[in-house]
Every structure is written in C-alpha cells, then in structure tokens.
C-alpha cells in the first residue's frame, strides 16, 4: 500500500517538475561572436524572409518590392514610387519611370543625372567606370549605373536602364552616398526582379 502511494507521489512530482522546469520564463542570454562579414539581415531578406509578393499593376512588367520599402507619392511620370528607410532617419527616393522611344539616349540621361548631383558631363569612355551590365532573374540584360560625387556625398544616384522595343524603363534611387550603399542590395534585388510579360 505504501509502495503504491509513494509511486503515485513520485509520478505526480516528476510530471509537475517537468512542466514547471519547461515553462517559458523570460531569459537573457549573453555570448560573444567574432566579427562577421556576413550581412545577415540582407541575406535573410533575399532568402525569402519578409519579402513581398510580385507587384503586378497591369503594366507590361512586374516587380518584387523589398519588404522595408514604403510606397511613396505617385505622380503622372512615376509608375512606382518608394521611400526607403535608411539609418538616422534618412530616406532614399526610388522611382520607376517609363519613357517612349530611346528616351533621348543613355548618355544624355546619365549626364542629366550627373548634373543633378553636381558632376559635369562624362565622356563615353568614362561610362565603363560607372555602368555595368546586369541580368534580371528573367535573363534580361540591363545597365546598372552608380553615380557618386566625391565632393558632395549628400546626393548620389543609382539607376537601372532597361531598354525594350519601343520604350525604356528607368529604375532610379536617389540618396546620400552612404544611403546608396545601405540600399544597394535592395535596389539590385528590385532591378533583378523586373520581369517583362511579353518575354
């Protein structure tokens, strides 16, 4: 009889102890990690965490908006407009604009943007230093341009130029030089995600 009571007591005690021990209490964990070069937050987002779905507004192309971009004020010129949160409360300005025909030519547009950040016109051979060909996930090539005025880091421009039959699509990000670097991966991810429906 005593054995049964003791065994019952033991069972109840063990079960209660297990549940008390396993109950979720707030805990603080302290540890050291060696300095890492992996931009984990960026990689996590590009790996799918927190990313947005494909945006299809009925235009002949779709895109994927990075999850931390905020829809900005649209205008008749802009198909899409986003404010990009940056450190210390700064905001990057992103626009997606489509122009007909050749849109005045690539060099003319690059020189116009250079003027906006206080740089003079560039020679065609200087283009190679600031422009590189990238591929979208669809396999389309586009021209990726980064313009920074070393004497005026408060304004810099990154742009993607997508030449299509009959029109040119411009993705443009304006921010400080530091902001441009912070938003670089997001901007590239946006440009790479642009998919043309007719392809």
């Amino acid at each position: 009889m005593k054995l049964r009571n003791t065994a019952l007591f033991a069972i109840v005690s063990v079960i209660l102890s297990l549940f008390i021990a396993c109950s979720k209490e707030p805990s603080v964990q302290k540890y050291k990690v060696s300095k890492t070069t992996v931009p984990q937050a960026d990689v996590m987002a590009s790996a799918g965490a927190g990313s947005d779905a494909v945006t299809d507004t009925g235009l002949p192309f779709t895109w994927v908006t990075p999850s931390n971009w905020v829809e900005g004020k649209a205008s008749s010129m802009r198909f899409a407009s986003y404010d990009i949160p940056l450190s210390n409360g700064e905001t990057g300005d992103f626009s997606l604009v489509q122009l007909g025909g050749g849109a005045g030519g690539t060099m003319a547009n690059i020189n116009r943007w250079r003027g906006q950040i206080g740089l003079g016109p560039a020679e065609p051979e200087e283009l190679a230093q600031v422009a590189h060909l990238h591929n979208t996930v669809q396999g389309q090539q586009y021209l990726h341009i980064t313009l920074i005025n070393p004497n005026n880091p408060s304004s810099a421009i990154a742009a993607g130029i997508f030449e299509q039959p009959g029109f040119v699509l411009f993705a443009k990000l304006t921010a400080t030089a530091a902001g441009l670097e912070e938003a670089r991966l997001d901007f590239e991810a946006f440009c790479n995600s642009i998919a043309f429906k007719n392809l």
Binding site: Q29, V33, M44, V137
Partner: protein, 381 residues
C-alpha cells in the same frame, strides 16, 4: 464490497487514472483535433494551426488541446502499465506494446520542449556557426565596441510585449516597449514628426497588418523608448525584423546595435559553404536539383560533406537539410534548414518496440486461439 471500502484515496485515484476508457476517449478526441486542425490549417496557416490545436493545453477556451490530451494519455498508460498490468507471461506482448507507446509519448515531450528548428544562411566562401529560429523572436542588444568580437545580450521572446522594460548591467540604458505588432508594414509619417521620435521613427510609422498564413514571412515591428543614451539621443525608436540598416545608439561612448530578430542559436561547430550548385530542367528555369558542398569545421578539424535535397548532414545532435538558396548580383549562397531534436530517435525505437509487442502478443495468443477453435469444432461435432 468490503475491498472497495478499504481503498485509500490514492488507490482510488490510481484506479481512475488507469481506466482504459480514458485512453479510448482521448484517442478519439485527438482524431477530432486532427480533423479540425487540418481543416483550419488552410485558413490560419500551418504554424498557427499547430499551435492552436496540437501544442496548446486548451483549444476553444475550455476543450483540451493536443498537449493536454497527450499528457492525459501518458499518465493513463503509465498508471495502467505500472499499477494495473500484472507481470504474467501471457500479458507480456501487451506490456511491451504499452511501453513502446509510452516511449513514443515521451519522445513527443522532448520534441515539444527541447527541439530547435531554423535556418542557416551561408554565402559562398563564408562560414556560419549559428542558425535563426523560423518563428521565435528575440531582442538583441549588441555591443560592437570590442575589436575582435561583438558582445551580444539576447532577451527572449517573453520580453516582447507592450510595456516590457529591458535593462541589464552590461549596458547603461533602459528600453521600454511602447508598442509591438507581429506583422507590420511601414507607412510614412504625415507632416512634422514629433520631437521625441528618433532614427527611422522620424519618417516612418508601423502599420499593423493581418498575419500571413506563411508565419515566417510576417515582419514584426516595435516602437521602443530608450533612456540613458548619450547627448539628446533619448527618445522613441522604430525597430523591425530584417532591418537592412540596424538601429544604432550611443551610450557611455560606445555604439550599440538594437535588433528585433529571429532567435539565434549558436552551434558548437561551424559550417563553411564551399560551393552551391543549382541544376535546372533543360530549357527551363525550373530547378531540378540543389546541393551544397560544405566543410564542417570543428577547431582545426574540417570534414567535407555534400548536402543535397534528400541527403542531409548529421553532426552531433543537429541535422542540416538543403532548404533553399539565394542569388544576388555578386553573391550566391545556400539556405539550410537546421533541426536539433532530442526526441528524434524516439518514434523509430518506440515503433519497433510496439511492433515487437504486437508480434509477441500474437505469438502468445496463437496457442490459445488454436485450443479455442478446436473446442468449438468439438462442440459442433
């Protein structure tokens, strides 16, 4: 009758706990939960359905949830096995089967309370020694000032609730959670920002969103007020998951990063991605095969392993499955699902024990069945 009168309270309780009907009705209730959980999964997502029906003590306020039902089953089986199953050879098969079932439920307990599951993201050529939980969050305060390491203080998920105050002797400021939402979007602030707002909160506000079915795609965000910072930095900050540029504050001349992030588990070894390979079906962009060639690094020792879709890497208690990948202009890398499950082997072992028990039961009962059938024949003859 007299025997019943002499029973003590403990005996009566054991008799009740060992009642076979308890297991019978609990098993039926588990089937009910399974049906509702499966249907509701379509509407609330897999993670929430698991939590609501199977990992909870109660469901629909007063009805037993999966966790309570399985605890009842365990106690019932245990009492039946220990107190109400006499050690007789002809019951040996049943005893073994019950033991196997108990072991299965025990494995469920270990899985529920001690398993960890998350993702490890490694760009090609880089090494990682931690993984992030898929769902559980934490608030991390990281002292970046040491030259060779970051000092991390991680506050568990239970701290993440409105009104919680976070402080520690290792940093000279206090954080108070003003508001928290499990899924947010960012919206612009109209007009002039209030003077107490700092960082991203000067331009943006949190806009609460409905929870997405794929729970891991929800982006949590919070407004925190911080006191004790240098200069006029005291104020209200906005922090959300996967911030591309983490919130940095200065206190006592040191810079601290404040992150709201998925709970991070440190591994006792590191994994280095040598090469990630993705193959597609010919003429399409549809992937047909992924694999990650990795080095498992433990001290000076390196072991090269190929992880592919059905061939995980097992090291110590951890299993690494090929889960996903990422591609950027300059980077490519792998995403591995990491599972640490103390109850991983229990289902296999307990299934073998139960199969053995049922087999023994059959063997033991066969002579009895033969005798019974012969008697029937004799009677009918």
């Amino acid at each position: 009758m007299s025997d019943r009168k002499t029973k003590s309270g403990a005996q009566k309780l054991i008799d009740f706990l060992a009642t076979p009907e308890i297991f019978f009705y609990t098993a039926i209730w588990m089937i009910v939960l399974l049906v509702f959980g499966t249907i509701d999964q379509k509407y609330v997502g897999l993670y929430m359905a698991q939590h609501k029906y199977f990992s909870s003590w109660f469901v629909w306020v007063i009805f037993p949830g999966g966790r309570l039902a399985m605890t009842v089953m365990f106690v019932n089986l245990f009492c039946k096995l220990v107190f109400k199953s006499p050690l007789r050879w002809n019951r040996f098969g049943t005893l073994v089967t019950h033991s196997g079932m108990l072991l299965l439920l025990l494995g469920g307990f270990f899985t529920a309370y001690f398993s960890k599951e998350g993702r490890m993201v490694i760009p090609e050529g880089q090494t990682s020694s931690y993984f992030d939980d898929f769902h559980i969050l934490e608030i991390a305060v990281i002292d970046k000032s040491p030259a060779d390491h970051d000092a991390v203080i991680a506050f568990s998920n239970e701290y993440i609730e409105e009104g919680a105050v976070i402080s520690d002797s290792d940093f000279p400021f206090t954080i108070t959670l003003e508001s928290y939402h499990r899924n947010v979007d960012l919206g612009p602030i109209e007009g002039e920002a209030a003077s107490h707002l700092r960082g991203a909160a000067k331009r943006f506000q949190l806009v609460e969103q409905e929870l997405k079915l794929e729970h891991e795609t929800n982006m949590a965000g919070m407004l925190i007020s911080i006191k004790g910072l240098d200069g006029d930095e005291d104020g209200t900050y906005l922090v959300f998951q996967h911030m591309r540029v983490p919130q940095v504050v200065t206190a006592g001349g040191k810079e601290y990063v404040i992150e709201l992030r998925n709970k991070r588990y440190q591994l006792p070894f590191a994994v280095e991605l040598i090469d990630f390979v993705q193959k597609v079906y010919p003429g399409t962009n549809t992937p047909s095969h992924y694999s990650s060639l990795v080095n498992v690094v433990s001290g000076d020792f390196k072991r090269e392993v190929l992880i592919s879709m059905n061939e995980p890497l097992r090291n110590l208690d951890y299993t690494f499955y090929q889960f996903s990948f990422f591609e950027e202009t300059s980077d490519e890398g792998t995403v591995l699902q990491v599972v640490q499950n103390a109850g991983r082997n229990y289902p296999y072992i307990s299934s073998c024990i139960m199969a053995l028990g049922l087999f023994l039961h059959l063997i033991i009962q066969v002579p009895k069945l033969i005798v019974r059938s012969q008697r029937k024949k004799e009677v009918s003859a």
